[in-house]
Amino acid sequence: MYTNAYYVNGLDGKPMCINAELASGQFISIPLDPENSDYKNIMKLVQEGQLTIAPAS
């Protein structure tokens, strides 16, 4: 569902969100909030080894 996922750092140098592309071709920016459904879904994929989130560049 998510591809090309990567962390984005805030001004404090710490990760503030995850950006990715959806299978539908849309761009998505996901807050690091454990109650956010997209965050839950993307972390589930990471735990299952189906997705890697690149570090902030």
Binding site: M1, V8, Q26, S29, P31, E35, N36, Y39
Partner: protein, 380 residues
Amino acid sequence: MSFAVNGTTGITFNDNTNMGTAASLGPRNRIINGNMLIDQRNAGASVTASTTGSDVYTVDRWSYYVTQASKFTVQQNAGSVTPPAGFTKYLGFTSSSAYTSVSTDLLVGFQWIEGYNVADLNFGTANAKTITVSFWAYSSLTGTFAGSVVGTNGSTFRSYVFTFSLASANTWTYITVTIPGDTTTFSYNTTNGQGLALSFNLGCGSNYQTTAGSWNSSNYYSTSSAQNITATSGATFYITGVQLEVGSVATPYQFNTYSDQLSQCQRYCYRPVGPSAYNWLSGSGGWGSVTNALIGGTFPVQMRTVPSLTTDSSTLSNYAVYATSGGTFSAVTSLSVNSVSGTFNYLLSVGTGSGGTTGTVCYLSQNSQSTYGLYWSAEI
């Protein structure tokens, strides 16, 4: 108007409608957008159910979950049939092929009700309340169809499968199903998570089938004999007027004003809509540098949780930062939800290749008269 009072059905009016319990006097329907009126994401466009393994939203608050891609399409007012009297919209599923489901297949359309909105049902306790589900259904097929009510504590499930019959093809039929409350001890979510799901089977395999009419300690969605519309190419299944309420009697569908219903939906999805190209997609912000702006805004209602931001186009240059001082549009090169975003307000960090003047005011907008929008999602 005359009416009759009965110890079982409550008050019955001379148009055959009922008010079964005292709860009927207040807001009754726990389903949001049960008449399928609001479709912020797709604006009535058909969508192929191509994404597997996660909840994908169609009309507001309604989603599908599939384990096999592209077995059906889903659309507000699919097939353009006349809705039941009093309704203008319905949600339509259309089978794309004749697919025989395997045991592990799960293909359903459903709505998660937020825990806050079903907390009073006392499910999972000895005081669980009886509920009644009612809706209008229409299909090109006839026979027995299935749906279910599902709850979860985050790791395990409870479910109650029900069946209903559609005797005439291509005819709207009013369905009511009364379901006893779940008195088995279980920690249903009663806050802002997954409270109860009301689902409709589209193509479940045997792993998700059980006998209808009792509560189970797993997530079941159908029976072995219910229709899978995905087994018949071109088969249709339409629903509208969906209501889930306390009590053993189905009361008439609770219509809301459009503004109230839109506000209910916007707790879970908010799509800024402007009148024309170049419309603003945010509140105001400021340039922090030549190439970066912090742009904020306020949601129309408090969202369920901090939302994700999804753009219609993956090409970010279809969006721009508009500088009010010079009246220029600078194409967006990066777009991120800032960590200070909340459920009332948000802040975006927006990058551009150039065009900023530090300290001046700007907005996020469409670029080059594109028609691409965006939406915020805090779905369950």
